[in-house]
Amino acid sequence: MPRNLILAYIATWAIHGIYFIFLWRRHQRLKREQEALKK
């Protein structure tokens, strides 16, 4: 397989991965804020 094809495949999933991390961190922060409001 050509190098750039592998790079394109990795880049596609790396971009999604970065976005998943962003979403997960935001989700955790929201949970913390909701907990804090309940107290």
Binding site: M1, P2, N4, L5, L7, A8, Y9, A11, T12, I15, H16, Y19, L23, R26, H27, L30, E33, Q34, L37
Partner: protein, 232 residues
Amino acid sequence: MKLALVLFIAVTVALLGYGYYQGMHAAPTEQTMGHIQRIFYYHVPSAWTSFIFFFINFIASIWYLAKRNLKADALALASAEMGVVFCTIVLVTGPLWAKPVWGIWWTWDARLTTTLVLWLIYVSYLILRRFSDSQQTPTLAAALAIFGFLDVPIVYMSIRWWRTQHPQPVIAGGQGSGIDPEMRFALFANWAAFLAMAALITWFRYRLAIGEQQVEEEHRARALRSQLQEVR
């Protein structure tokens, strides 16, 4: 609801696996470019998916401006983020494909430039939403989104209106265009997979945005209550 979500996740993962198999193995190798052409199965469906999510953002922005509905605002935000993710993939995979085929990473032709402008518009939209504290932010963002969407048809039509380095359309390109049926099948299999994944992530982001709006509302209500108590 949970069962439906689990089923949808399972279908999405299966579609992604099937799309990978179709794009990387089953689809025939293109005669001139060879295996590098397989980037097509990520590059093109990502572009189409970004257009669809920018369109959802456009509709949700109009809906928000018309009804001031917070759900519309949450949907606009979620779909814009998804559109930017896929547009980023287009802008990264494009040069990786261009270098071995054209001999250059980038050229300022109409398709590439309008796509970069599209990405910049929606990144500006997200920056506005992220860093503006004003209560007018959703309204300003909705207005920006409506004007920003005007670039989508320009990107789509750019290779039809102008002579570009970027190839002419292979789908819906009129006479003389078209691709091998097996390639077309692999392309649509990947697009279906990307759409399913994007729908799933957008749904998750939409719920997150609704939760954030509720927390913000609660903070505002508490601040108002404490101000009223101080006045009394």
